[in-house]
Amino acid sequence: MTAPVDGVHARLTGVTRTFGLPSGAKLRALGPIDLDIRRGEFFGVVGPSGCGKSTLLDILAGLSPPTDGSVVFEGKPVDGVPDGVGVVFQEDASLPWLSVHNNVAFGLRRAGFEAAETARRVDYAIGFMGLREFANAYPAQLSGGMRQRVCIARTLVLQPRLILLDEPFGALDQQTRLLMGEELLRLWRETGATVLLITHALDEAAMLSDRVGVMSARPGTFIDFIETQWPRERDSRIVSDPRFGAVTARLWDKLRVESLKIMGTRTQEKAP
């Protein structure tokens, strides 16, 4: 929100999303959202369950239109999935009928890249994500973490300028998540892409992000932005930095209030 206009990579203005319920009533899931995502930043988003984090990502990716408001990416209005945007989902989105190599090459072949260029990019991405010895394996033969690496590699080969990640490590254990986070930081540094990471893990958001946006309970709006001021060269060891505790404490301070609102609503909904 404070970034200069020429440094803005994507901008959401007055974005809301409303869903129709079977009863005919309308439910506002998101917004209004005003957000500038700065070019090249690592932006984390945290918020209580059901606050519309994934809806926000879908709108930014052009997967679903906002009910109101506008979304602009690289100065152009978003209508459908724009060029230069890559998405990694929480669920396993690897294609189980293709080998790791063919999964990673899938998007390049779809886009009509020449075989030599496809091979070069796939080789780099597979090596970068530590998948070289599994190139001929099928997703069913890999762990959840490895499959998520395949999905990241598949996104990476298309060299997106904005990478959107929707709780990509949500299904992984803590140690794997920390290590995958390090790989994500390495990818961000080497590609120079802008990254938006949605996560429910405060430590993950605090460790990875340059800036963390905290969302309110439904309908989700941004209630705080926290600049972490970490150096660009960082890894999971940053969790031992005294400032890390301060960042997570501030995140939890904001999030606790919002989470209690949801719990209160649920308690009231359950009451006779």
């Binding site: 990716a61 997967l63 459908g80 999935v81 890559g86 998405v87 989902f89 669920e91 396993d92 989105a93 294609l95 189980p96 009928w97 899938f106 998007g107 779809r110 099928y138 997703p139 069913a140």
Partner: protein, 254 residues
Amino acid sequence: MSRQILSREGWIRLAVIVAFVGAFEAACRLKLIPRTVVLPPSEMATSLWRILQTGEHTTDILSTLQNVAISAALAVTAGFAIGVILHALPRLRATVEPLLASYYAVPTFMFYPVFIVVFGVSARAIIAIAVLLSIVAMIASTLTGLDRIPRVLRKTALIYRMNTPTRAVLIDFPAAAPHLFTGIKLTFAYAFIGVIASEFILSGQGIGYAIAYAYNNFDNRTMYGLMLLVILVATIANTALDTVDRRLQNRLRR
């Protein structure tokens, strides 16, 4: 690394079959089961060998296999198409699905007089009954396969800006493939049953007809030889399809 010919379960299964056939043979040879009721398995095998060597029922065998192939192909094609249409039209599906669920409670064979009137005593009547018997298995499998395509793969298709036909070919069809193949396997099994059973009442040729003819003429040797052939063909075909099915399920497991 050498691959095992059979798994441990496979060896146990084979041992059970061998033990059963051995006990059956012994019971027949010891006259615990009269020859007028059942022949020993070894004589069934000898009879089948003779049938295959002399070629006296080759026309019947080819006729049956051809009818099974045509019926299964028609049922798979039409069943898949109907499944896709029902999946695309939820209201129509909601109307039809309860009928499909109770479909196999209706004895399809009772319609054979209708098919005789429409097609005459011919292969077409047999194929019609076999298709009628098997098509719903393919419709149900197609619906299950399309229902179980993970939502995230649909989102992935959007990310790659696929239109509906491209998504159908590159995402939906391969994602649904394990269920579709299960449908093909069941369709083949039902088509085989439908053809053989129909030949008993609707045909002047085919393995079913030949078994009925042998039975009416007290030719137990031919009858049991042909029965063994039916069992072997059904088992071998089903085992082959099942092997492919398992491989697909394993590879596409999420």
